[in-house]
Symmetry: C2
Subunit: 410 residues, 2 copies
């Protein structure tokens, strides 16, 4: 008998009808001869509603109490879903994160799972129950309820799959899987059958939000194969697994698996920095101190003992970055701070590029042929990213998608 | 330093402004030099909203899951209230029923508290925190969240006061205390300064819903003095305490403390029952088996070897009572079942009547003088109840209230 972990997001349990639909899917999985553990998020807009209630009370709520408040959302989902399963004759038990043995560190609002104690889940499964677990929440060492941060239910599902040694971990959402690029932007985008953990991580970091990154990291660490699929169809989705597994299944890895893009970027440049050691260290440690996440960084070669440093941050951090850079510029006396918020980051991702050195050149050529200017470049083992003018973004994605042969086969 | 338990009902925490008002009252109590444990119910209509959500899924929900669902209401209250207290500079911790050590039996939806383990609350108090506890909920021996039934937050407050040996237990609501009769019906109704546990129980059983009966029973058992008062004024409310304490404080007990009334009554009569042993036992054990609570019972003296038995039930149980009585009548062959749903129960309650045998006579005389027909009578040590036509109810209450000197002193 196989053990399957199924995870359903908030939009899949947003109302009574959807809840019943999900119950039907869970029951079908059970009746096909599986043991089932289902992880659910809070219904639809519940979390936003709770945040709004808190905002009416206080602008800067206590993190511990925020977690107590937010945890109620998933409790509503699990109890209603259990009722729905009972009403169609299934034996079922719902468990909160703490009851399910999800043990986290002592951070509030973005706790990290330290350990899963699956004793209670196993006992419920042995008694032939479907087990419904509240995603997103955990128990900390003080006995408090905590939450795992945005997308935390994915993490709950993967952690449970790892700890229960589940045969599969199915993450259901309202899209059919991971696409070569965003199908809302490029209509020829193709659903991928397989994707490696690292590719998924690079795609996520580049704006494709199908799975929470930490859940992919945990899946990679514990070798949990994730099946990302639609809650509203029976179609096979995308399997996220190890590179070895993909190579075993496919004759040859794709050169490029996907094209990701991200408009949420601002490019800053500090011009005329003195060319002395420690300048870059000073700038980026100061930004780290105020909590700014810097993405791409380029330092140009020194000319006349002056340096330029460019880097990107997300738009939400634009203001505080600017303020801090102005201070730093003042300290260095001469430098000038300029920024450009009309940029976008385009990335191609693929494990195939590891063994194929021509990929970067091909990318630049495609962009050049389409008269798209590259403002910055950064590369990793399996990703190449370029910053371009945001007006060129869609065109760039389209041409790269076509150029690397990612369009849907007719 | 005194330890005060304060309990606030759902209407006192129905929105952000009321929540802040309650936070202010709690903070004031703390800053007057007390340790404070506050028990709160779910905000306003939350419980009804949750019930409605469940009703959209299934008509007969699993009790265990219902408790999981309903428990979220109080978690919303405690976290928001804690945020409100934090925002005015108070050190505060919220605890769910299970976290607070409220341990119950294994019934769902109307669990009984078996024990309170106040270790965690005491630890929080020692660290100078205000402790906010979710009312109405408990932990059962299986580790499930359960609820204590209607009015369960009162019970939580009293149980905590007993277990913490609190110096006072203040139950806040939107009325100023316990009145001689319902002030919405009789405008001269007077707020009582003191009332004994037994009087409160008799009043509650007779339709005056200020405090949940089980909480009064527990208060009596453990000697917890309850102060029932308004959340919206600073006035002294009603102290519910032992008879001894009241006699110590007052020179003489009132003959009658209050007049209660209850329209939610149906009178059934089974006529021409055979006058043989076991007839009454059969009727009432059959009704008990189908869960009907019988209130007043009269059996008339046998005439011609035939007996009549009359009794009252609440209106919600009218249908199933009637169905069952028809079956019983059929089994006894001859009897006739009649019922009257246009009746009301009027009760006078007072510990003073223990030592004063004239009270019943005076009650009947007052009703007689006002041409109010008495259909049934039942008496206990401190209560006399009469069933009258519902059209006479208000008049009867008015005259009894006046006749026993309960009106407000001008």
């Amino acid at each position: 008998m196989s053990l399957v972990v199924m995870k359903f997001g908030g939009s899949s349990v947003a109302d009574a009808d959807k809840m019943k639909h999900v119950a039907g899917k869970i029951a079908a999985k059970k009746n096909a001869g599986n043991k089932v553990v289902a992880v659910v998020s809070a219904p639809g807009d519940t979390t936003d509603d709770l945040l709004e209630m808190a905002a009416k009370i206080v602008s800067n709520p206590l993190a511990r109490e925020m977690d107590m408040l937010l945890a109620t959302g998933e409790m509503v989902s699990i109890s209603l879903l259990a009722m729905a399963l009972d009403s169609i004759g299934e034996k079922v038990v719902s468990l909160t994160g703490p009851q399910a043995g999800i043990l986290a560190d002592d951070n509030y609002t973005r706790a990290r799972i330290k350990k899963v104690n699956p004793r209670k889940i196993k006992a419920c499964l042995t008694k032939n129950n479907i087990v419904i677990v509240a995603g997103f929440q955990a128990l900390n060492p003080k006995g408090d309820i905590t939450t795992l941060g945005r997308g935390g239910s994915d993490l709950t599902a993967v952690a449970l799959a790892a700890s229960l040694e589940a045969d599969s971990c199915e993450i259901y959402s309202d899209v059919e899987g991971v696409y070569t690029t965003d199908p809302r932007v490029i209509k020829d985008a193709r659903k991928l059958d397989y994707l490696s953990y690292d590719e998924m991580l690079e795609m996520a970091g580049s704006g494709a939000q199908v799975l929470q990154s930490r859940s992919v990291e945990v899946a990679k660490k514990f070798g949990v194969e994730i099946h990302a699929r639609s809650a509203f169809s029976e179609k096979q989705g995308t399997i996220i697994t190890s590179e070895e597994e993909i190579r075993r299944k496919k004759m040859e890895a794709l050169l490029v698996s996907g094209v990701a893009f991200d408009k949420d970027q601002v490019k800053f440049t500090m011009m005329d920095l003195p060319d002395i050691p420690g300048v870059a260290a000073k700038i980026f440690s100061r930004l780290a101190k105020i909590g700014v996440n810097v993405d791409m960084i380029i330092q140009s070669a020194a000319v006349d003992k002056k340096n330029d440093i460019s880097f990107t941050v997300c738009k939400a951090e634009m203001k505080k970055t600017h303020t801090e850079l102005d201070k730093i510029a003042h300290e260095f006396k001469t430098p000038q701070v300029v920024f450009d918020e009309h940029v976008a980051k385009i990335s191609i991702v693929g494990i195939g590029m590891k063994s194929n050195p021509g990929v970067a050149g091909k990318m630049f050529e495609i962009l050049y042929k389409n008269a798209i200017n590259i403002e910055m470049i950064s590369t990793s083992e399996i990703k190449i990213s370029c910053i371009v003018d945001e007006l060129d973004m869609v065109k760039a994605v389209e041409e790269l998608h076509k150029g690397f042969g990612l369009f849907r086969k007719k």
